[in-house]
Symmetry: C2
Subunit: 243 residues, 2 copies
Amino acid sequence: MGPRWKGKGSEAKALADPMSEIVSQLQSSLIQLDSHGLLSGCSVLLGAETEQTDFLNRACFGRPIITTEKDKQWFQLGMEEAFYLCYSIKCLKIIGEDQCTKSNEELWNYMKSKEDTFPEYFKAYSHLRNKNWVVRSGSQYGVDFVAYRHHPALVHSEYAVLVLSGDGNANGRLKVWSDFQCTLRLCGSVAKTLLVLNVYRNNIGDVSPSCLEAYSVDERTITRWSPEQCREDQKTIENGAKK
Amino acid sequence: MGPRWKGKGSEAKALADPMSEIVSQLQSSLIQLDSHGLLSGCSVLLGAETEQTDFLNRACFGRPIITTEKDKQWFQLGMEEAFYLCYSIKCLKIIGEDQCTKSNEELWNYMKSKEDTFPEYFKAYSHLRNKNWVVRSGSQYGVDFVAYRHHPALVHSEYAVLVLSGDGNANGRLKVWSDFQCTLRLCGSVAKTLLVLNVYRNNIGDVSPSCLEAYSVDERTITRWSPEQCREDQKTIENGAKK
């Protein structure tokens, strides 16, 4: 299953305007204005000027929120998004409730305390973002993330992503057949491919974000096996799981 | 969400021909011919005469299988179906591989050995069958069973059924939000209501099928909460879970 572009010309538009460049532009713009986000529960709030608003929208970070402020557009960033901007591409500083800028270690510990599985989820999120996929919440489809080849205005999401912990401290998905069947059936009905990312900690622990470098990610797409597509006379045989 | 009948006249047909009576007729017919099924792995094979074939089809027990035999139609019964005919409505005897008729206790132990969760699944299956629901496998939708108000030729299945063990030795479904979201989204897209049957063993154990009488079943349907349907001026307020 390839990308499903939204209407004519979308593919050309996407090719002419690579996501990697959009993210670079966002990065430069955030650095230039010395941007600071405000930690608020499981979100980070970021007040953006016009230029940044445009880049945040185009790079698909955060959700714009409606306020009465005229000059600033506020964005609500999820934990993975905020930590990616802060730690991975180093263009955002984050201020805690004590008005102090948080160090990477402090943020890491804070986010872990909010969500046990944050290290795995962040590894998966950054793994896909580093490959220039646009990554958004998958809650609408009962998965952890959905991944788009480019901006959701141009293309439908291609992958429904489940993040599993390869070392066993898993989030509990896909352990029984009925869950598998349910997930595959749903992915089929919304024309997405199920992508399972197994994140292995490799006995490294999670005391600091530098542990992330040693984590590994195993990618598997899972599709239904269709006998009709697997006749001997066909050149390629697609099987249940492929890398 | 009510029943979705298949075409005109289906509801009238179903009303004129209650499922309870069809099952009674099947029961009489099987008793009259002293029917015996053959245990084979996780299935029971039953060779049926013309009259019984008709009743089995109308009551929706088993799947007809294609053989070269002209006089007999063979049916493959699932474990819950076979044990229901044998133990609950006492119209089928089951022969093991040793050519001996199995007692209820022997069958119970055999089926438990094939599937740990057999006691809970059977309790759920018989609970619905006793209320005259037609119960079939739900594997197509990633659930344990689907329940029909009458024969699948007349009506779409109304409930997607998940069987959970109330005492904790669960089958692992619905433990994380993403599984919940996935299951609810799928149920919505196929116009079924999610019915969760929690089966409680009540510290009774499972040494013999007579334990079943002491098990209890808690029924919950789960639907998405829609703010639009929950305004104050409405008479009934549907909430997340109702009995």
